[in-house]
Symmetry: C2
Subunit: 192 residues, 2 copies
Amino acid sequence: MASPERFRKIRQMLLRRQTSLTVVMDNVNKSHNLAALVRSCDAAGIHEIHAVSRRKHIFTRHNAAAGSSKWVNINLYHDIESVYSRLRDDGMQVLAAASTEKSVDFREIDYTLPTALILGAEWDGISEDAVRSADQCIGVPMFGMVESLNVSVAGAVIIFEAQRQRLLKGMYDHPALTETQMNRLLFEHTYP
Amino acid sequence: MASPERFRKIRQMLLRRQTSLTVVMDNVNKSHNLAALVRSCDAAGIHEIHAVSRRKHIFTRHNAAAGSSKWVNINLYHDIESVYSRLRDDGMQVLAAASTEKSVDFREIDYTLPTALILGAEWDGISEDAVRSADQCIGVPMFGMVESLNVSVAGAVIIFEAQRQRLLKGMYDHPALTETQMNRLLFEHTYP
Ligand SMILES: C[S@@+](CC[C@H](N)C(=O)[O-])C[C@H]1O[C@@H](n2cnc3c(N)ncnc32)[C@H](O)[C@@H]1O
Ligand SMILES: C[S@@+](CC[C@H](N)C(=O)[O-])C[C@H]1O[C@@H](n2cnc3c(N)ncnc32)[C@H](O)[C@@H]1O
């Protein structure tokens, strides 16, 4: 059983979880990028994320190292369409992160709305399908020579802008998980 | 020789370079983290960075992959003291990034001042010496279970806050490099 201190820490984390903010990793392949992204999600209070992958097993090597996939639920899909139908059901605005000319500056977005952020693969970027079905493309401004940022970096910069806005709006002070969800998760995390 | 288009792109980049913003990597070891950091620096217009390493060669594998270390000058040191004396000479405020209780929220800092950001190693974090000599410790707020962010993520989140503030203040509209520096760099980058 968890110590009282640990119990409090887990409870505190659950009270701050943001069910109306999520991330979709569209064929992001490298495990160190996935691990870094999950850590950022945890720190921003993201409860659940989605990963599209053609491969069967992602999160292998770095899983243990990061230790954060224990705290952030990761749903796996084989195609982006299934993720989109889920996001529509959840009433999310869908933002595709892409460093293109037509992308809106990520700082202009209201992330206090229910929001899903789609991130693309290291080499191929975000898929055509994912861009077509998104509400908007957003970009992190770049003033140098390099064409794109590392995917876990681009994701984090946007995720922490969402954290900033949600903090200002007091969204970490009101629990988003229901009492039932809270109690079930507390039990799962604190009993062996 | 570079095409006129490429020449313009490089000139544009040099006009936006921020000589009064820099990053120090205090024994950051993993090449993928170094590569991601250099890409972020390039995108924020950082001209020059500093790396402390006990090893002789860093930036090996990922050097070519990122392609950004061509555009950001990287000074190597064997100890942090040498970096600090350089930063003091340059009149920089020195901020140590650390996820500790006593760290100030990174969003409260004025990054339009001449600023150096110190980032720590993946396992050991920032060295005692580096913290002791810094003006301030700054932290990215975390609301989850994980104790720290990936170093390239933490660095990027802070670097892009600096970019935001400098953008607002019009600091990308006025060249920081001298005419002589500009011309020399343009020549170096455009002639074979
Ligand atoms: C390394 S980039 C992909 C580069 C790919 N060659 C392309 O052209 O899209 C990986 C992912 O990071 C995200 N990304 C990288 N830089 C970004 C930026 N400046 N703004 C928004 N998203 C970015 C995007 O989701 C992108 O698909
Ligand atoms: C993986 S962390 C190091 C963790 C190490 N175990 C420690 O206790 O410091 C690597 C570096 O990233 C930076 N970092 C990570 N999370 C941070 C945060 N929330 N705020 C500020 N810097 C952070 C710091 O510079 C840190 O030294």
